[in-house]
Structure formats: C-alpha cells, structure tokens
Symmetry: C2
Subunit: 128 residues, 2 copies
DNA sequence: CAAACCTTGACATGGCCGTGGTAAGGTCGG
DNA sequence: CCGACCTTACCACGGCCATGTCAAGGTTTG
C-alpha cells in the first residue's frame, strides 16, 4: 500500500481528517482508495491540499467559491451565460424601445395594477 | 425625472423591492438616484434585472455565485490564483520528491508525533 | 396637507455551509 | 487477538445568505 492515510495526510497538510473528507465530498482533491476502502493520499494530493490551503488563506474566498469556479470551468454553458450577463453591464436596448420606453413601462404598470385592484386601500403595499 | 421607481421596477422585473436593494448592495445592478435619493431604474437596469432572473432560474446558482464570478473578473490576481489551482489538478511534483517521498512524509509524521508525545495513552486521537 | 411613496437601518427567519463529535462497524499490524 | 486506525452516517452548532417585515423619517403629488 502506498500513500498516506487520512490522519497522516491531515497532519502534513494542516487540515483535519474531517475536512479532508468534506473537501473530497465537494469534488476538490479526491484521494485514491486501498482495496479495503481506505483513502490514500499521494504526493500530488498532498501538494494540492497545501496549495488549496494557501489559496483560501491569501484571498478572501471559501471552499464553496473554489467549487463554483470549478463548475464554471466544467460547465461551459454556465460559464457562457454568466460571462455574458457580466459583460452586458452597460448595454442599453435602444433598438428594442425606440424612445418612450418609459411611458410604455409605466402603462404596463398601470395595466397590472388595474388587474389587481381588488384589495381595500388600493395601496401599492408591496404587491409581490 | 425619468426612470421607474423601485416598486415599479420590482413589478416589471419580478423581484421584490427588498431584493432590488439587496442586489444593489452586493454590487450587481445599481440604479441611478434622483436628487432626493430615490432609486431610478432605466431600461438598461430593467433588462439586466430580467436577465439576471433568467440566469438564476436556468442554472443552479445564486446571487452569491454571480457576485463571485464578478470578483473573478475584477480581481485578476484572484482569478489567476484560482485558475492555476484548478488546472493544477494532476501535476505531480516528481522533481521535488525523487522517489521515496512516502518514507520522507512518514518520517516527518513520526517526528511530529514524537514532539507531541506528552498525553497519557499516546493515542493518535485526532491530534489536531 | 395628507396619502402613498421613497430612504436607511434594524431585527427575524429558514436554510445551507463549514466543522466537530459520535456511533456502529470493518481493517491492519504487532 | 487486541488496540489503533479506517469507513459511512448521523446529529449539532454557529455563521452567513436570501428574504421578509417593521420603524422613523423625508418626498412627491393630487
């Protein structure tokens, strides 16, 4: 059998055994398994665990964010959607609404209200 | 004054006024302000809010993740660090540890134990 | 001016995250 | 064979996230 057991790996990397299991459960750094099911950490994993620790320490992020970054890279569709939304920051749909979009939106607003006017005070009390 | 008020914007976009404020507080979609401080949503913001809603609905992510994605793009240092860690997935430091890294690590382990041996049972009871 | 809107700020909730602990049971090494 | 280790599964707890709700006070408008 080659590779450190989970407790040994925990010690050399600075995590706890518990966290090593957790880290594995969220898809970052998974260990090999011995025939009987014991986790075995090789040099690659150990290094990875150490750098992960550094990563979290230096920047203000958590395991969750790293996991999300991983999703971003493994799900190109998601990546594309998010990226597009982010770059869309200042794009105004002039082409869609000619000039008086405002009145348009407000009229729609009125229409919506009209449809909902059933309550007493008619007060627009957070009509969610 | 041009632009929808927060309640109007909430209605046409499907969010609640509360959430519009929250979304602004975390840096996504911020509205203009009238002289007296009222939030004013223009067509660009409205569109953005709608697409944001779609984004969250279609993929399984939350406002937090979008915020993080934004950080990734605005903090190149962070981006680089995370990206590097992620791509590092299978890189083994053969160059660092010649061949018997295992024994090396295990000896270090022993040394650590030796230094800590003070308790009674010496049991390696999760020596964290 | 009064009603209905807006502002910020604070408190409250339910759910998930990171973590620890423990129990029931298999494995390994002297 | 026994003690120390490993496994999974569960419960627990504090913290933060996403929301709601309310209070105190300004603004807009019929």
């Amino acid at each position: 059998m080659d590779g450190l057991t989970i407790a040994e790996a925990a010690q050399t990397t600075g995590w706890t055994a518990r966290m090593l299991r957790y880290i594995e459960s969220i898809g970052l750094v998974e260990a090999e398994r011995s025939e009987s099911g014991y986790r075995l950490y090789g040099p690659a994993q150990l290094q990875r665990l150490r750098t992960l620790r550094e990563l979290l320490g230096e920047h203000d992020i958590g395991l969750g964010e790293v996991g999300f970054a991983r999703r971003l890279r493994s799900e190109p569709k998601l990546r594309a959607a998010v990226d597009q939304w982010l770059s869309d920051t200042a794009r105004r749909p002039d082409d869609v609404a000619p000039a008086d979009w405002l009145r348009f939106e407000q009229e729609k607003h009125q229409r919506l209200l009209a449809d909902t006017v059933i309550g007493p005070t008619t007060t627009n009390k957070e009509t969610a």
